[in-house]
């Protein structure tokens, strides 16, 4: 979505730290009763009551909120209230301010006030168009814009700005719902669940090397798929990592299924890629060919690393570490493991994955200095990103003991989500190869059982535990047949 990419790069610079710009930190004073509830520390807003934070969002005649604040508060407020409720409150504050202006000596300033309100709504609709999917929110938006237009009837500029805003909002909503429909239609069961093979396929069936034997090309196609998937993840989807947990606690349900779909699809992709790697290795009958297959995937993972596609790399390494693959000792003994050791070193979980984090930092720097979209690619290991946000949420409370919202926490979550969003908007420099992608997304994947069967058939059980599980597995399969 080209509009969104503009919005994100403009709302939050790369050095977004939640710093309040001089002269913008304090509200115009007088207007909001709760504004005294905001607590600053070295110029940073660190906490405040929900009411004061809401008032801090609404412009006055001589105040306009910092753009990082707008993004962060809009993103985090959904943890506490649905967007349409926030919009309703914003509408109320607007009305109060308008009445004050109309009654006071500054009536002439009504026009500039209304322009600022429209500017705020514009930023909101651009950064979070999905908030307005909801009919209630759309009705609130209309009510506010209607009131604001009245402030400036003789001049059409406000009216024009509102019309433009509404139009682009409707366009991005339409684009998203179209994408949604398209995805639902294109969603072959294979993409997400994978057709699960209970038995071995005919030996003649082609394998991945028959489709693509160049590790670099395969890594590029994996990157293409990754970028395609992440581009449909929005900041509010990522915020669900935080708000879903709370809804579990409160037995309240927030958000709907369609919104989590893109996250779910992306999670599934990771598991599917790991399982595909394991399937490709385990189903090869000849040991020599299995060795070649392992070496091929090691090379693919290395190319992914070089590109900055850490997510695919981690999925591939996980696939090679799945027991049915890892237990193939005879096969592994023929593999030149030096290369694999290097990869495993990068993805070693020790010290909180510090090797990976260092590599990610390097890639981030490269991306910031990049001249080409090729150099811009950073695809982090998504599950580690999710885990970081999850723990960030777990170690810091939403509220401080005095009832204030712990806004420091939300600056940090928002900063990380924003950084992720800049990565999702990189345009993929590699051309799509339909044949390879269709194989990657639809090739049959073995179930865990089938992987073990194939693995044991390739290299028989080695100890009594394996013998037992092989026996149990065969009995289950026989009974089923």
């Amino acid at each position: 979505m080209p509009q969104t990419s503009v919005v994100f790069s403009s709302i939050l610079g790369p050095s977004c730290s939640g710093q309040v710009q001089p002269g913008m930190g304090e509200r115009g004073g007088g207007a909001g009763g709760g504004s005294g509830d905001l607590i600053f520390q070295d110029g940073h807003l660190i906490s405040g009551s929900l009411e004061a934070l809401m008032e801090h969002l609404v412009p006055t005649v001589d105040y306009y909120p910092d753009r990082t604040y707008i993004f962060t508060f809009l993103l985090s407020s959904r943890v506490f209230m649905p967007p349409h409720d926030l919009l309703a409150r914003v509408g109320q504050i607007c009305v109060e301010q308008k009445q004050q202006l109309e009654a006071g000596p500054e009536k002439a300033k009504l026009k500039s006030f209304s322009a600022k309100i429209v500017q705020l709504l514009k930023e909101w609709t651009e950064a979070f168009p999905y908030d307005f999917q909801d009919e209630k929110a759309m009705a609130e938006l209309k009510a506010i814009t209607h009131r604001v237009t009245q402030c400036d009837e003789e001049n059409g500029t406000v009216k024009k700005a509102i019309a433009q805003m509404t139009q682009s909002l409707l366009l991005s909503l339409a684009a998203r719902s179209q994408l949604q429909e398209l995805r639902e239609k294109l969603r072959p069961p294979a993409v997400d669940k994978g057709p699960i093979l209970k038995t071995k396929p005919p030996a003649a069936q082609k394998d991945i090397l028959g489709v693509c034997c160049d590790p670099l090309v395969l890594a590029q196609q994996l990157t293409h798929i990754e970028l395609d998937r992440v581009s449909s993840i929005y900041p509010e989807d990522l915020m669900q990592i935080v708000s879903h947990m709370d809804s579990l606690d409160n037995h309240r349900c927030r958000g709907d299924l369609t919104k989590t779909y893109s996250l779910e699809a992306y999670d599934n992709w990771f598991n599917c890629l790991s399982m595909l790697v394991a399937t490709e290795v385990c189903r090869v009958v000849k040991k020599k060919h299995r060795t070649r297959m392992l070496e091929f995937f090691i090379d693919v993972a290395r190319e992914c690393f070089n590109i900055g596609n850490f997510n695919s790399m981690m999925a591939i390494i996980s696939g090679m570490n799945l027991s049915p693959v890892a237990r193939l000792k005879k096969t592994w003994s023929k593999v030149k493991t030096a290369k694999f050791d290097v990869l495993e070193h990068h993805m070693d979980p020790s010290s909180n994955f510090c090797n990976y984090r260092t590599a990610l930092q390097g890639a981030t720097q490269r991306s910031q200095m990049a001249n080409s979209s090729r150099e811009k690619i950073v695809i982090p290991v998504f599950n580690l990103f999710v885990k970081d946000i999850y723990f960030l949420h777990k170690i810091h409370t939403n509220h401080l003991p005095n009832g204030h919202i712990n806004f420091k926490k939300f600056w940090e979550i928002s900063r990380q989500i924003h950084e992720f969003m800049t990565w999702t908007q990189v345009e993929c420099p590699f051309e799509k190869d339909k044949k390879i992608q269709s194989y990657l997304l639809t090739a049959p994947i073995y179930s865990e059982e089938a992987l073990f069967v194939a693995s044991f058939e390739s290299e028989g059980p080695e100890n009594h535990m394996e013998k037992d599980s092989w026996k149990t597995l065969r009995t289950t399969l026989l009974n089923r047949a």
């Binding site: 990771f270 890892a326 237990r327 885990k387 723990f391 960030l392 777990k394 170690i395 535990m465």
Partner: protein, 180 residues
């Protein structure tokens, strides 16, 4: 100093992260940033010998099933957590123990079975004796904890260190710290 990696497993919502957070941060929560190297690490003294524990927690990412074997491969001790107010989570734990043994290819893996949320006694769905019976079947210690009311959390991590020490003793020729 001995260094150990402990993997915490269990289905979503059983309170794994709460146990980990309680252990690694104690009461000084403000300082912590989950992306730093030392976040999941803590020094612990057990039976008057100090060691360092690093927790590999899968909390919040249970849906990435294919990564579990990688975590297991890297761990030396395992804490299997269910929620004693949720019978399903108790059922979910059994295949996880099988998985550990499959990956480790060894039956005497240091494991502790943990029923968490003992503070919610009135909503209990899994009795202590059920938990104890399963632990006996596995030949491992059993504990009931509460991350919320800080019950038995430090004891739990001390016990897993003991288990790992115990498991490491017979074959001293296999030092665990080759990576350091």
């Amino acid at each position: 100093m001995r260094e150990y990696k402990v993997v915490v497993l269990g289905s979503g919502g059983v309170g794994k992260s709460a146990l980990t957070v309680q252990f690694v941060t104690g009461t000084f929560i403000e300082k912590y940033d989950p992306t730093i190297e030392d976040f999941y690490r803590k020094e612990i003294e057990v039976d008057s010998s100090p060691s360092v524990l690093e927790i590999l927690d899968t909390a919040g990412t249970e849906q990435f099933a294919s990564m579990r074997d990688l975590y297991i491969k890297n761990g030396q001790g395992f804490i299997l957590v269910y929620s004693l107010v949720n019978q399903q989570s108790f059922q979910d734990i059994k295949p996880m123990r099988d998985q550990i043994i499959r990956v480790k290819r060894y039956e005497k893996v240091p494991v502790i079975l943990v029923g968490n949320k003992v503070d919610l006694e009135s909503e209990r769905e899994v009795s202590s004796s059920e938990g104890r019976a399963l632990a006996e079947e596995w030949g491992c210690p059993f504990m009931e904890t509460s991350a919320k009311s800080k019950t038995m959390v430090d004891e739990l991590f001390a016990e897993i260190v003991r288990q790992m020490n115990y498991a490491a003793q017979p074959d001293k020729d296999d030092p665990c710290c080759s990576a350091c």
